[in-house]
């Protein structure tokens, strides 16, 4: 990695600026800058506060990682980082335990009822279609990426998944568009993501970077040995661990480690099901076509969001029947109103969670063939620790505090002295991980 800028121009029709940086093996990494944000004249020049006093903060999401998978044997670099910092072993994801809403909660510090992002997939009533929440306009709340930028800090997003890149839009000062995207998974492999992160740090050195590493999740989804030996998953964990280690080594080699805070967590964990443990609400309602015709289903792996589309006058009675029929399925754990889960209207009228070892498959019984899923309560536990070389980080601590994905924004915001957003955070600043 040399990290030098090779191109500061891009023939784009919009007002963004582009910067092409060299990466490992002669490859290049293309960054874009938000409108109004300039690339530094020298890509190696520090941007922001006095380099001698600045704190760099990196939030690194090991997508889909279970806390019990982070072990000295399987993930030695991550385990060592955790041991060297402050660990929150009781940390959990929040409903719906999917990628997009939990990344949004990390960056906003508020629950979906305020952000407008309750799940990966929702039924868009205006468009009359089920779609991913992957548009910048889907996110109604300011994020750390733009709030810090607006107060003079520089921020970056290095997100391996296409839909994450989509929803966070141009909020960061600098962002990487994931590439190459693998077909089917829609994500860039972790080695490319890490190339981009290192290139961004070397090139424009943001004060804060938000990174998603997608391999562990994407491999986990398709690991047919998930209920037993988890062979492919384990290989992905080892590989991703190496990428994280590579980043730490790079920070050390470039003199940034002593000013760095790393917050490492997952957005959700993963649960595997066998092919017979499938719940199809479509199938459950097949004997009641008059009900089925009034319901739209947004399937989110371990959760189904159900939307009443029939006459308003029949809504309450119809939903009560749907609830009763779906709840009777042996694989269904619970059915909640979205308000009970602080999800907001985008989540529809009912939220069904499956039990551990099950999955939803809708709108058809064959729609979801993948063994690894999340979204349901079995996938709430996540790794969550704060480490780094910064003297602000408390070392070797383990805390009982129930950290949540939503705590990232207030915690990072406090490190930069950022005021809470209008209406305050829903999350909690995890101040106990830092020296005051």
């Amino acid at each position: 990695m040399n990290g030098l800028p090779t191109d500061a121009a891009h023939p784009a029709a919009d007002r963004r600026q582009f910067l092409r940086l060299a990466a490992v093996g002669g490859a290049s990494v293309l960054l874009s800058a938000a409108a109004g944000t300039a690339f530094p004249a020298s890509a190696r020049a520090a941007v922001g506060p006095d380099p001698s006093t600045r704190t760099r903060v990196y939030v690194m999401v090991v997508d889909g990682c279970r806390p019990d998978e982070m072990t000295p044997r399987l993930t030695p670099r991550l385990a060592a980082l955790r041991a060297a910092g402050t660990n929150f072993p009781g940390a959990r994801s929040l409903p719906v335990m999917e990628t997009i809403p939990n990344h949004v909660m990390m960056m906003t510090g508020v629950r979906p009822a305020r952000s407008g992002v309750p799940a990966n997939a929702v039924y868009d009533r205006a468009a009359a279609a089920v779609r991913d929440l992957d548009r910048p306009t889907d996110l109604r709340f300011p994020t750390l990426l733009d709030r810090l930028r607006d107060t003079g800090f520089t921020t970056g997003s290095v997100l391996s998944k296409r839909y994450l890149f989509g929803i966070f839009g141009e909020r960061a000062s600098y962002r990487w568009e994931p590439s190459p995207l693998l077909p089917v998974t829609g994500h860039a492999p972790d080695n490319f993501t890490m190339d981009a992160l290192i290139a961004m740090v070397d090139g424009v050195d943001p004060d804060f970077v938000f990174t998603n590493l997608g391999d562990v999740d994407r491999v986990g989804h398709s690991d047919v040995t998930g209920t037993t030996v988890q062979a492919a998953r384990s290989a992905a964990l080892r590989s991703t661990d190496g990428q994280v280690g590579r980043f730490v080594d790079h920070l050390s080699a470039t003199g940034r480690w002593e000013s760095s805070v790393l917050i490492v967590l997952a957005d959700h964990s993963m649960d595997w099901s066998i092919p017979s443990n499938v719940i199809s609400v479509d199938q459950v309602l097949s004997a009641r076509p008059e009900l089925r015709g009034q319901i739209q289903i947004a399937q989110n792996g371990g959760a189904d969001l159900l939307y009443w589309t029939g006459p308003a006058a029949a809504r309450d009675a119809g939903l009560a029947e749907v609830r009763s029929l779906v709840a009777a399925h042996p694989g269904v754990l619970s059915i909640s109103n979205p308000a009970e889960l602080v999800l907001g209207p985008e989540a529809g009228d009912l939220v069904a969670f499956c039990r551990a070892g099950w999955r939803f498959s809708d709108p058809w019984v064959a729609s979801n063939p993948i063994p690894g899923n999340h979204g349901h309560p079995a996938t709430e536990p996540i790794p969550f620790f704060i480490s780094g070389g910064s003297p602000r980080v408390i070392r070797g601590a383990v805390l009982s505090e129930p950290a949540r994905t939503i705590d990232v924004a207030p915690t990072v915001g406090a490190l930069f002295g950022l005021a809470p957003p209008t209406g305050g955070y829903d999350g909690t600043e995890r101040a106990a991980a830092f020296r005051s």
Partner: protein
Amino acid sequence: MTQARDAAGRHPQTGGMSPFNRRDLLRSAGVIAFAGAAATTAHTQPARAAAARPGFAHGVASGDPMPDSVLLWTRVTPTPEAQPGSGVGPDVQVHWEVAEDSGFLRVAARGSVRTGIQRDHTVKVVPTGLRPGTTYWYRFNAAGATSATGRTRTAPAAGAAVDRLRMGVVSCANWQAGYFSAYRYLADRGDLDIVLHLGDYLYEYAPGEYQARDVVVRPHDPAVEMTTLAHYRRRHAQYKTDLDLQALHAAVPFVVTWDDHEFANDAWSGGAENHTEGAEGAWATRRDASKQAYAEWMPVRFEPGGHIYRRFAFGSLASISMLDLRTYRSQQAASVVDPAIGSPARTLTGDAQMEWLLNGFSSPATQWKLIGNPVMIAPVRFPSTLSAREVGAVEQLLGTTTIDGVPYNVDQWDGYTADRSRVIGHLRDNAITDAVFLTGDIHSGWACDVPADPLTYPFNGASVAAELVCTSVTSDNLDDILGSPPRTTSLVVEEAFKAANPHVKYLDFDSHGFSVLEVTPGALRMDWYVLSERTDRAATSRLATSWQVDAGTQSVRRAQ
């Protein structure tokens, strides 16, 4: 009876160096006439003679600590005639005080309460308005006598960060089978926040019915199987004359639950293995009597008509849910192949307690969810490689027949698999982390995973909780039944059990002693201490092994 009380009175001084030990207990009690005698003649003074004097012959105790209160207990003997279970004696006003120092210069609370024959002259008070996470001293005064001074400690404030919780863990203390050295060693430590007693605090048997192998080390009083209220009261009183037990009660607050022997062996909602309906009265009457005596004589927030299952929190570090697995349970299955074992119509916990237990798991307020669990929940299958003699010994230990490959004890959760499935399913479906069952009953030490699915566990090691089982204080175990020296023939049996049950990581079928559990945010560790000889008043103690559960793993591993 005289012989038993002689034995109780002849406890050796231990000379422990902890801040508050048996010697301190006796010294602090010196103002009481009988206890003053005990301090100088403890080796010769019959307990009955001591108890015959006005005063506080049965010591003091505290229990069930909460952030702003803790329950205090004693029993007053206002006149020589007012013996436990006698129904004789005047009402008496008992004064109590709680102080922040052992000299009672900074009194935090004081009051008085009246007691009499209606509660066998026992006293339970709950001072409130105390400060959380604070050590207090307490004592009682009545009829011119002052009790021993007890030390206790309130629980940390709700939600407070707590670095460490350390507790003694004990069960199965049969007076007739030996001396309570385990209690002495716990009392002498001086570093415990609580003592968790998981049941079989006392036994119902008559002398000669259940002891140390064939030897009655010290006979029970009364010299009959306890079946009436007077019997239960006298038996409780006898146990409370043990100076090691008195010392531990006076040094550390207890959190207790009962198992079967507080009532009768293998008790269930409608009877017990060791109850003959009619000949021994009606079960309901006997059960009510035992519960009344328990409420009177134990430092527990339980009164007849209420329920003993309850939950405590220690800041954000841990909660402890204490279960009652006798009051509501269906009758044990007839055998290990009885299909009723899996019937959802049968219950171990009862519906209300089950709902309470499951709801408690889901609270985000505390990290470790500890369960005071009187009988084992981990599935245990009987191995097929044992000799007939070994099989017979295990059957005697369990009190059941055994068949290869099927559950080995239907008095445990293994005999109520529908209820166990609800618990395991709830833990798994909701990904409850850091749940640990702390168990007694089975007179042996175990460290186990609780598999999410026993069929796939050998491949994926998926565990929803850990289970740590303390051994008995004195009650017989496998080597006693086999008649073998400790740690000889039982080793083969233990290896066979572990091979047949790969989630069982540690098993000691022989030793007697106690456990110490240390809970921190990063890990929970249990140390198993074993006694040299339970029938030796001066038994030594040594650390046998330690196993731990790292936070977030739900799995046991040997501590380094």
